[in-house]
Symmetry: C2
Subunit: 349 residues, 2 copies
Amino acid sequence: MLENKNQAKTSLSELGEFKLIDHLTKHAVKHHKDTVKGVGDDCAVIEDTGLQTLVTTDFLIEGVHFDLSYVPLKHLGYKAVMVNLSDIYAMNGRAKQITVSIAVSNRFPLEALEELYEGIHLACNSYKIDLIGGDTTSSTKGLLISITAIGEVSKDQCVYRNGAKANDLLVVSGDLGAAYLGLQVLEREKQVFQVNPNAEHELDAYTYLVERQLKPEARKDVVKLLSDLEVKPTSMIDISDGLSSEVLHLCKQSKTGCQIYEDKIPLDQQVISTCEEFNMDSTTIALSGGEDYELLFTVKQEDFPKIKANPNFSIIGHMTEDTGIVELVTRGGQKVTVTAQGWNALGDD
Amino acid sequence: MLENKNQAKTSLSELGEFKLIDHLTKHAVKHHKDTVKGVGDDCAVIEDTGLQTLVTTDFLIEGVHFDLSYVPLKHLGYKAVMVNLSDIYAMNGRAKQITVSIAVSNRFPLEALEELYEGIHLACNSYKIDLIGGDTTSSTKGLLISITAIGEVSKDQCVYRNGAKANDLLVVSGDLGAAYLGLQVLEREKQVFQVNPNAEHELDAYTYLVERQLKPEARKDVVKLLSDLEVKPTSMIDISDGLSSEVLHLCKQSKTGCQIYEDKIPLDQQVISTCEEFNMDSTTIALSGGEDYELLFTVKQEDFPKIKANPNFSIIGHMTEDTGIVELVTRGGQKVTVTAQGWNALGDD
């Protein structure tokens, strides 16, 4: 995990906007020669690559998307980048540039932003991303982060949500539910801490869950793996809001239905044991948890041999002709209709 | 000016995030065939155009960048787009796409967002911009808008901040200071209203100032005009933070100095009369006011004949070899060193 090292405090207003941007972006490394101009002009400039351009953007808001009482700023910076890269990979593309805009209230010292940017730079260096611009300003409350990611994909490799056909296989990378449970563990620790600030943290049994919540990795490797296997998915989406919500997106846009087999949903052992401890149903957590940032995609039946034995992939179901209907086939053989229970960004709760 | 028509109130949580996005973007018109995919997938997809891609982004935050007590939401939407397009034009480019992310607290009904998007759509239609994506979420306080604009420019026409040379002429489009004075007028009206809510608004003498503040136009026309005149500026920037701040950017990045002639700075008659009324110095307002969204650029001496008689342009000075030194030559012939007094996004005041 990433550590918080800075304790000093420097007021942001001492620097002013332009010196702050210089300070935070001076360590940015340029990974791509087609990034002609990064930070420092009215726009960033990207050279023509002869490929299609992908654009995605996400807002992260303190008190809505993250809680700084247990999310270290360095992790937050890392995760904020991952959330956006994941959308580029979900198009079967290569992520190449990001812009990062932040707004902060005056309770944040310079050192806090340095920590946030350490995580951003770490993500950029690990994933070969150029930080090409952004905006830095003050907020009236808390920390706000808006990231836009730019990527590229050749026209014949771009994968949309709407290309699935009946009988295509539904495949997911990695495992599901851990990030949501990690959040539950951290929330419980926060409550314990509020009651007794001297209580010892007992997170050893939940390391995988907490890491999946705090430091998710976008599945750049899956895009490469699919390319190496010569499999082009017929549709693809990343799992940010939970499996059920994402499957419904694929079905709605592809005008198909889907059957998911409960016993095929990939779960880590910590997910299973923690669900037992928390008295939660692991299938529900996998379907509705969200923040897994795994890739969910469909492939033609003929690609089955290329996918079946790969430890990175689980074939969890198949598409049907029942447009918009997602059914879960339970371990007992019952069929249950699945509705989206994922996170609603505008919900009341 | 644009009017507020909606009075009904529908809670955002009734719709949920995806229906809200559908609802707000269903009237979006596609202007460019190279916008392959807009809202509705993990990313927007833009076809290869064979040109360089321009990217710029801006944050607008309630209580920091705007005050909804006198800024109608439709104007705010319009202006939020203009602020970003202006940066594309400042590269001598064509703006083609935007993403719009908004976060709102639950005090905003659906009708408020509809009004905001009316302004956004109006801007998109007037400037031929495709709305290709964004993010919609809740905030813990107020309204937050993050817009990213995408544009294109051929490599040989891209204009940076760093290309000015000594003896180049400094040129500005339009006139300066009106937007800042418009804000002062609106602030005064707000105070009058707070003391006496029945007081009549007296804005007739300030229509131009208020319009420049509430409904600025990005200078797309200037990019076309320069092309028609076959003038490629040696450097260019848009005036968002005030003339002095922007000239200093050009000088710093171009490693030149600059002399500005006070009597050449273009001022509207309402700026002059209102400065007298408010007992303000009009030159100071033009230098430090900001939010004019005019284009400030340098041209070679040989382009003087093409620029001099054009009513859209004022030649206000020339570049010098005194790196980083900006001098104002006053009406009295004195030389005064100019420092950046523009808006500091992270300042205490």
